[in-house]
């Protein structure tokens, strides 16, 4: 995989924050290095490998993962996702939601200071909110904030927002990084302010320098409200090539990176590698699917879609594409999270069942190809160029479908052309794409029948009145029980209807140099407690003077 995953993104802002990276799992390697006193100590530096360069530090105006990750060291939101992917307070110590669900009152943390020493107050939150809805701010994330009917800051530590109606995903939107009013006030367009290049935040690390295309350096913030981070310096190195990055890892030029499945399975299973590195494995927050244009004559019939689901050998896909490092997707949620319904209709690999369903739907086999009304079952699947995993997925599916008499052609198209010429114009039979899975289960934009307009995300044209109603219900209450019920039912319907054939959820595969201690894997990944990571004094590699 040469390029960063150009996965179709479903980015709740909080999703991008570095403290909500991966998913639940267990440490893979037992190699713990030599016996040293395993006591937390301050000092040392960690070098991260990153495929892309930062494009700016103000996450309101950037949309790429590298920028959001880097900004996560410097800035905080009012809320964040904890290790179990549940919302917890960050700059807000606590919050209350009014009984009618329309008003959220945030109680801010006392004594928090910006990196330049100025106190953090509700004025900063108010300022951030105003800039998010300001037309002069070039942001793609304004929508959540335009839902706010009224915002007020009754005192310096309280911030209140009112919505026209209860809107559950609103809470997560306050994970948006809070901006320092005193430094940004005089810039009508925040993207042009010096802070976009030299950020000043409230976060665990202070910005030191950014050498474009090369590296970004941060130093620990001794006054961080959760305590000074143990690791004194963070260096993010830009290494666009995955193979180069792996060589840098092995030679000590990089301490932490994400492995590809071949690297994980084949290139790191040596005693030497295990001596210096710990590998981890989690369910990642994303899934790959085969989506149909539902108005297409082939795919109108539910039985045909179900037949394709039976024909698709998901086990072979996971083994072939991910070298076994993934699990079957049964719906649009991440296995093991609260919204995930494990008891939906499943489609084990069964070509016989697939053929029977296709026969029912009127398709008869002739010379190895299915024919109906003189028309052979032949269609083209589209996917974006440069995504190795999706290209392999297409090749395996092609073979699976040939077994039941369906001819599938494969076409890969450059990303922008793919979106603008094919997805937006609905000029496709079927696509292989992926979605990121946000911790909040609201997927109104993907499944609601009103979201089929130009540039909207229900491009397959799924329309189901019950799902419409449930989507509405799920997003308009804060009651977890009620939401769970709605989303469980939605998954049952999607599993039955198969507007997508849900294929697989890959594992995230981070690797860390083993002098770093204190890593406790959780559903949210490993980096959620980064400020508690440390290197025992005897093992410290870099001398860093803050």
């Amino acid at each position: 995989m040469r390029k960063p995953l150009r996965r179709a993104v479903l980015p709740s802002i909080a999703l991008f924050l570095m403290f909500a990276a991966c998913g639940g799992g267990n440490p893979e390697s037992a190699g713990k290095g030599t016996a040293v006193s395993d006591v937390p100590a301050y000092g040392d530096a960690i070098v991260e490998g990153s495929i892309g360069d930062v494009s700016g530090f103000l996450t309101a105006v950037t949309t790429d993962a590298s920028s959001h990750e880097a900004a996560g060291y410097v800035f905080n939101g009012l809320v964040r996702y904890d290790k179990d992917l549940k919302l917890e307070g960050e700059l807000a110590e606590s919050w209350e939601i009014s009984p009618d669900g329309k008003r959220i009152t945030f109680h801010l943390r006392k004594g928090v200071k910006w990196h330049d020493g100025a106190p953090f107050t509700s004025d900063d939150v108010m300022f951030t909110y105003r800039r998010m809805i300001d037309p002069r701010t070039p942001t793609a994330y304004g929508e959540d904030f335009r839902q706010v009917k009224r915002a007020s800051a009754p005192d310096s530590l309280t911030f209140v927002v009112e919505y026209a109606r209860p809107f559950a995903p609103a809470l997560a939107s306050w994970g948006m990084h809070v901006l320092p009013k005193h430094l940004l006030e005089k810039y009508p367009d925040i993207s042009k302010s010096p802070l976009n290049k030299k950020p000043v935040g409230t976060g665990p690390y202070r910005f030191v320098e950014w050498k474009t295309g090369e590296k970004v350096v941060f130093d620990a913030n001794p006054d961080y409200f959760e305590g000074k981070p143990y690791i004194s310096r963070v260096i993010t190195r830009v290494i666009p090539d995955q193979a180069t990055m792996f060589l840098e890892l092995k030679s000590g030029g990089v301490d932490i990176m994400t492995l590809t499945p071949p690297q994980y399975v084949r290139q790191t299973e040596t005693a030497e590698f295990r001596k210096s590195f710990n590998k981890y494995k989690y369910t990642s927050s994303g899934y790959t699917y085969l989506g149909f244009r539902l108005s297409n004559t082939f795919f109108k019939d539910k039985r045909v879609r179900q037949a394709i689901a039976y024909a698709a050998d998901k086990k072979a896909l996971i083994d072939g594409v991910l070298l076994g490092l993934g699990q079957e997707a049964t719906g649009p949620y991440k296995p093991g999270t609260w919204a995930y319904n494990p008891n939906v209709r499943k489609y084990p690999h069964d070509p016989g069942q697939a053929k029977a369903l296709l026969n029912d739907a009127g398709w008869k086999e002739k010379d190895g190809v299915l024919v109906k009304d003189g028309q052979p079952f032949e269609f083209t699947v589209l996917t974006n160029a440069g995504n190795d995993a999706r290209a392999k997925t297409a090749a395996i599916l092609q073979q699976n479908l040939a077994e039941v008499g369906i001819r599938m052609k494969i076409r890969t198209v450059e990303w922008a052309a793919f979106i603008n010429e094919f997805i937006d114009k609905r000029k496709f039979d079927a696509v292989i794409l992926g979605w990121n899975i946000t911790p909040d289960p609201d997927q109104f934009d993907i499944w609601h029948s009103s979201k089929t307009g130009p540039k909207e995300l229900n491009f397959v044209g799924f329309a189901n009145p019950e799902v419409d109603r449930l989507l509405d219900e799920g997003r308009s209450t804060f009651d977890l029980e009620k939401r769970m019920k709605a989303y469980f039912r939605i998954q049952e319907i999607l599993a039955e209807e198969q507007p997508y054939v849900f294929l697989y959820v890959p594992e995230a595969l981070p690797v860390v140099q083993n002098r770093f201690r204190g890593i406790v894997p959780a559903p949210a990944g490993i980096t959620y407690n980064f400020v508690k990571w440390y290197v025992p004094a005897a093992l410290q590699k870099h001398k860093v003077q803050p």
């Binding site: 479903l10 790429d64 070039p138 295309g213 193979a243 030029g253």
Partner: protein
């Protein structure tokens, strides 16, 4: 001569405008646009926020207005601001990338000339010899081997196994704490592999070119005359033959001027070098119009300048062209 140069320079202006117009149109004809990378398949981006972003970047204006604005700015040598979120000026972005790309290209070109010319000359003089055949195979192997593959092999050998050279990047993490000499040494160590590899791929063309020029010249009557006069072989080869065989190399030098600032994407990606190639590639991928236009314009200008230099150099070296 001066009038000739002045006329050519004047002609450059309409040519540049024409090139920029074609580039501008092509760029806008490509699917997608600058706001797509952040808003495509992004549920938080509504039609309204798309419209706002379009207006913010002036993309809601008709094409001729957008081009006119760009041209107006260009007239004052203002490349405008990049559309990427950092909003930095295009000139600044290009400026910080030029030194490293220029260094690598100049060094690798020097390496190519240094190796290819002697190899070409020697091969021509000893045509069909063992050296000729071995060098032919060697340079064509260099030409045919995929650079990225060879690069990875060398990185594994020198970076991981032997640990002699750094694997990627252009400076060590402790670069700032080094003295001047230390810095030069550090930069040098980082440049060894990229320069070697960039040079290796270019050897084939240059040495073959030199060889065939030389073969041509050696057959000429005046070389036979020189030999007949009883001049030593060395003088014949270097004084009489090689000088003339070098003439067409001037053309190549002139045509290489735009290449000096153009980086290779694959190369820079493999070695994590923040050069012009990556800048342009990222600009194209994110449809950063001002950046694309800026780099294309500079490239076009340098190409025209290179052509002019080659023509002038030729005229200086060859009286027949001057008179024509």
């Amino acid at each position: 001569m001066l009038r000739y140069i002045a006329r050519r320079l004047l002609l450059t202006v309409p040519l540049l405008v024409g090139i920029s117009l074609v580039s501008f149109l092509m760029m806008h004809m490509a699917p997608g646009g600058p706001i797509g990378s952040g808003t495509d398949l992004n549920p938080k981006a509504t039609a309204e926020s798309r419209a706002r972003l379009k207006a913010y970047y002036g993309l809601d204006r008709p094409l001729h207005v957008q081009y006119g604005r760009w041209l107006g700015r260009m007239a004052t040598l203002d490349f405008g601001d990049s559309f990427s979120p950092d909003g930095r000026s295009v000139a600044e972005k290009i400026k910080e990338r030029i030194p490293i790309t220029l260094t690598i290209n100049v060094l690798s070109m020097g390496l190519i000339f240094l190796v290819a010319i002697p190899v070409g000359v020697y091969s021509a003089v000893h045509k069909g010899s063992l050296f000729d055949r071995i060098s032919t195979v060697a340079v064509f192997t260099g030409f045919a081997i995929p650079t990225f593959w060879l690069a990875l092999l060398l990185m594994i050998l020198f970076g991981v196994t032997l640990g002699w050279l750094p694997i990627s990047g252009i400076s060590s993490l402790d670069y700032e704490s080094l003295g001047t000499l230390g810095r030069i040494a550090d930069r040098g160590r980082h440049l060894v592999l990229p320069v070697l590899l960039a040079g290796f791929g270019g050897l084939a063309g240059m040495s073959r070119y030199m060889r065939s020029n030389m073969l041509e010249v050696i057959r000429q009557d005046y070389v036979a005359t020189a030999r007949a006069k009883g001049l030593p072989e060395g003088t014949v080869v270097f004084r009489h033959a090689m000088r003339n065989a070098l003439l067409p190399v001037i053309t190549i030098l002139g045509l290489s001027v735009p290449d000096l600032l153009g980086g290779s994407v694959i190369f820079e990606t493999i070695f994590a070098i923040p050069g012009m190639g990556q800048l342009f590639y990222q600009g194209v991928m994110s449809r950063d119009y001002p950046l694309i236009m800026g780099i294309l314009t500079i490239g076009a200008f340098l190409t025209l300048l290179g052509n002019l230099l080659a023509d002038v150099g030729y005229a200086l070296a060859d009286p027949r062209i001057r008179q024509g």
